[in-house]
């Protein structure tokens, strides 16, 4: 199977502090790969490194035959990687419509993309003129995903999209991830809780102290919950 994204030997650091050590990952075409690990394990840093927001000291991140580590940060999304950051990071002072417009501008997508994204999140259609900072938490998360999907990305990076949401919203976000997989979007999903990913992920990679440990199929994880305890520390 073709890989959507291939990361090899990736080292990253914040200033002088090394955070990632020799990360190697393969995101297969059309799969949902989940990164699990404790706080501070380096999951968010890995996503930022893919986006070019944290510079890579060594290693490569291949999207097809392009090495993303060689691109300036603003070229990475144009290559087809969309990012839903932790804590959503909407442009809070801008309206819903403006946030979506920024997503569309990234890869020069038009009205058709906009419509298909808004069809995924009909709630947003009613709130286009509202300032995005005044949306509820769940709506903000939907907008953050909608903004990313406006790129029609090949690879989608989701950083704890269910954090701090009520259960009905979590179900909605999970359902959306499932829908996107059916559309063939390859997704890297960062989560802290296993139960949040069992139903949507294809494979799980455990991250510990800036290194990637085992990568297992989701069936194996369901059969052997002990694995999770070892890396994440809670059941």
């Amino acid at each position: 199977m073709r890989n959507a994204l291939t990361i090899a030997g990736l080292d990253c650091s914040y200033g002088e502090v090394p955070v990632l050590h020799g990360i190697g990952l393969e995101l297969r075409d059309g799969e949902v790969l989940c990164l699990l690990g404790r706080n501070g394990a380096g999951k968010t840093t890995l996503l930022k490194a893919i986006m070019g927001l944290v510079p890579a000291r060594a290693g490569s991140i291949m999207l097809g035959d392009r090495d993303l580590t060689r691109l300036p940060a603003h070229e990475v999304p144009k290559a087809g990687v969309a990012y839903v950051p932790q804590g959503r990071r909407l442009f809070a002072e801008l309206t819903v419509a403006e946030n979506i417009e920024i997503g569309l501008m990234t890869r020069n997508k038009g009205a058709q993309t906009r419509d298909s994204v808004l069809d995924l999140f009909p709630v947003l259609r009613e709130r286009l003129k509202q300032r995005s900072g005044t949306l509820s938490g769940g709506e903000q998360q939907m907008l953050a995903m909608a903004r990313a999907l406006c790129l029609e990305p090949e690879v989608l990076l989701l950083d704890e999209p269910t954090e701090g949401l009520m259960p009905s919203m979590i179900a909605k976000i999970r359902e959306t991830v499932g829908q996107l997989r059916e559309r063939g979007v390859s997704t890297i999903l960062v989560e802290q809780r296993v139960d949040a990913v069992l139903s949507v992920a294809d494979r799980v990679t455990f991250i510990e102290n800036g290194r990637n440990r085992e990568t297992v199929d989701i069936e194996k994880l369901r059969a052997d919950p002990g694995l999770v305890k070892r890396y994440v520390g809670v059941g």
């Binding site: 300036p72 940060a73 990012y83 809070a92 920024i102 501008m105 890869r107």
Partner: protein, 293 residues
């Protein structure tokens, strides 16, 4: 002259001050809002605008209007170019660090000022207004050119509002202002936006200076007052708020005009400074600013 006409005259003078101030302060506010850079050299871009306007009109000769209109285009372009070079050579290399850029722009202030002294000299030189039409009111005549400054400023402010809120460039600028990192994750070349905004800020100061130079004369030290008043306007109005900048500029301009005419210019400056102190104590984000996150 009785009180009524006197007040009218003071108000007109105040409006002219406000018009020039609004443009200058908008430049300062944009640069700080988007880049988080406190540009201490902003007043020197203003000064350069005026000095270059003199140079252009003097070099060209002919009818004053032609020289003036040319200066109105050429002078801001040159000043924008200088600002662009300064941004690339200095601010970018400091990674836009807030403290370091303050020191760096202080350095830029002196370099620009001394360069003007060296190449332009210590004299104050006038630029002829593009037209000399006096509007005759029942009590006094008033310079038509001064009123046209107010008109030009209003047009430019409307244009700025339009660009910021209705165009893609404005959207990109605002997105960069609110979240630099996320803007990059959506393909916005933050680096180039910064360079553009810094140049644009300097150009606004230069335009204001070209407008004012027919009534004020060009001098190498003329940048200090606009810098101070711009800071006052931006603090009172709230950083990054266009509406706040306009309201505060009108407020400061009018009070400056009226108090200067009836009492003294020093009192006007004292009151403006007091106002800043009060705003900083009771409403630090400014009248129209939003609380920083």
């Amino acid at each position: 002259m009785s009180f009524g006409p006197h007040l009218l005259l003071a108000t007109l003078e105040g409006l002219v001050t406000a018009a020039v101030l609004a443009l200058t302060a908008l430049g300062l506010s944009l640069v700080f809002g988007v880049m988080r850079v406190v540009n201490v050299a902003h007043g020197e871009f203003f000064m350069l605008g005026a000095v270059l306007a003199w140079a252009v009109t003097t070099a060209l000769g002919g009818h004053p209007a032609i020289g003036f209109l040319l200066a109105l285009v050429v002078s801001p372009l040159i000043v924008g170019g200088i600002a662009l070079v300064a941004e690339r050579l200095v601010l970018r290399r400091l990674n836009y660090n807030p403290e370091a850029t303050i020191v760096a722009t202080i350095g830029m202030l002196y370099i620009l000022q001394q360069a003007a002294l060296t190449f332009y000299g210590p004299e104050a030189r006038p630029v002829e207004p593009p037209f000399n039409y006096r509007i005759l009111l029942p009590w006094f005549g008033y310079s038509g050119y001064k009123l046209s400054i107010v008109g030009a400023s209003i047009l430019l402010m409307i244009a700025a509002w339009f660009v910021l809120t209705k165009t893609r460039i404005g959207l990109v600028m605002r997105a960069t202002q609110y979240d630099r990192e996320t803007a990059q994750a959506f393909g916005i070349p933050v680096d180039r936006v910064y360079a553009g905004v810094f140049a644009l800020g300097a150009m606004l100061a230069a335009v204001a200076a070209v407008l004012v130079v027919p009534i004020q004369q060009a001098h190498y030290l003329m940048g200090l007052d606009p810098l101070l008043l711009s800071f006052i306007v931006v603090i009172i109005g709230g950083l990054g708020s266009l509406r706040g900048t306009v309201v505060a500029a009108v407020l400061i301009g009018l009070s400056d005009g009226i108090i200067s005419v009836f009492f003294s210019p020093t009192l006007a400056k004292m009151i403006a400074t007091l106002l800043v102190a009060l705003v900083l104590v009771f409403r630090p984000q400014g009248l129209f600013g939003t609380v920083a996150r």
